[in-house]
Amino acid sequence: MVDLDIDGLSRRRLFGVAGAAVSSAALLAGCGDDTKNPQVKTAPDESDTADVELLNSVLDLEFSSIAAYKTGAGRLRGSRLRIAQGFLEQEQEHADTLTRAIRDLDGVPNTAKRRYEFPPLHSSAEVLRYAVSFENNIIAAYIDLLPKISQGEIRSTISAILTCEAEHVAVLAGALHEPQIPDAFVFGQAS
C-alpha cells in the first residue's frame, strides 16, 4: 500500500501551481435557511444537523480524492499530469465548497486525515483507471446522498459537484482511449 503523509507534502511543491481557488462563497451564499437571521446564533435545527452529517461524509471522500490525485501524480507526465493537476484543484474546490456549506449550517466540518492508503499503482494507465474508479465511487455517493439533503440549494450545489466529477470521468476515459459517454444516465459505481 502507498501511504501519503498529507502534512509532509505541499500541493504547491508537488505541482508548482498556485493553491486551489476558494470561489464557492457566492454560490453557497444562499444556502442557509432564509428564515434565519445571520446575526442571531441559534441551535441548528434537526434537518440542518442531518445535512451536516451527510455533507461531512462526502467531504471525507473529497479529501481522499485530493490525496489520491497527489499520490497518483508522481506516476504521471505531460498531458496526463496536467489533467491530474487540474482535477486536484477542482477536488480542493469541492472540499472548500462543502466545508463552507457545513459552516453555513452551523456545523463543524471534518478535516483531512494525516495519512491515506492507496493500492500501489505502477503506470500512468493504472493511475488513470484508479482515478476513474475513485470518481465513480464519489458520484455514486453523491447520488445516494442527494435525496436525503433537506435544503434545495444544497441539492443543486451537490448536483453541480457530481456533474463535475462525471466530467472528470469523461476526460480520464478519453485519456485512456475508452468511450467517454457510454451511458445516458451517470449514476457512478460504488466500489
Binding site: 456533474t163 463535475c164 466530467e167 469523461a170 445516458a184
Partner: protein, 211 residues
Amino acid sequence: MAREPLVAIADGDADTAQVAAFERDRRALLRRGLGLGGAVVAASSIPVLLAVRDAFAANDDDTTLLTKAIKLEHVSVLAYDTILGRGLLSARVEALTRTLRGHEQQHADTLTTALTDLGGTPPPAPAGVADVDAVVKGLGDIRTEADVLAFAIALETAAVAAYYDVQAKFIQSKLVQRGAAIMAAEGQHLVVLRQAARLAPVPAALETGGQ
C-alpha cells in the same frame, strides 16, 4: 510572443450585447490559451441562451417540473435531428451528434415514464425550430461544423442550467437522483463537445450551466 489562436467574429445580425458577451467569454478563454480551434464563428450564429435559468417556478410540483424537463429534452432531440439533416458534419462529429441525440431521447423517455407514473400527461413534441429558439437561438443560422459545436455547447449548457435549477425543487427522491444522473450525462456531453471545439473540457469545479 505566443501567437493568439485564430478566432474571428464575422459580421452578422447578432445583438451587440450578445456579441459583447461572447467576446468577453472568448477573450477569457484566449487569456487561458484556449480558443475555438481556429474556427470562424459567424456572429449571426452565436448561440444565445434564453430563459432556462429559473425556468422552474419555486412552487411547481413534480408533475409540472417533469413536463418542463421533457419539453427541454424534446427540444434537444429536435435540435440534433435538425443539425444531422444539414449535412455539415465530419464523420467523427456526426457520430458524436447521433450519440448525443440518442441520450437526449432516452432522457425524454425516462422522464415521460416518470410523468405518466404520477398521472401526468406528456407534453406534445415541439413543432419546429421556433421551439428550439425559445431555449437557444441560432440553430437556423448554423453554417459550419464550428457553428454546430458552439450551438451544441450552448444547448447542453442550457440543459445543465435547467437541471441545476430543478434539483432544488424536485420532491420525490427518485426524481432527484434521476435528475442528477441526467445532469451528469449532460456534463459529459459538454466535455466531448468542448474537446472537439478545442476548449478546456472542465472549466469549472462546479458545473452549474452558468459558465
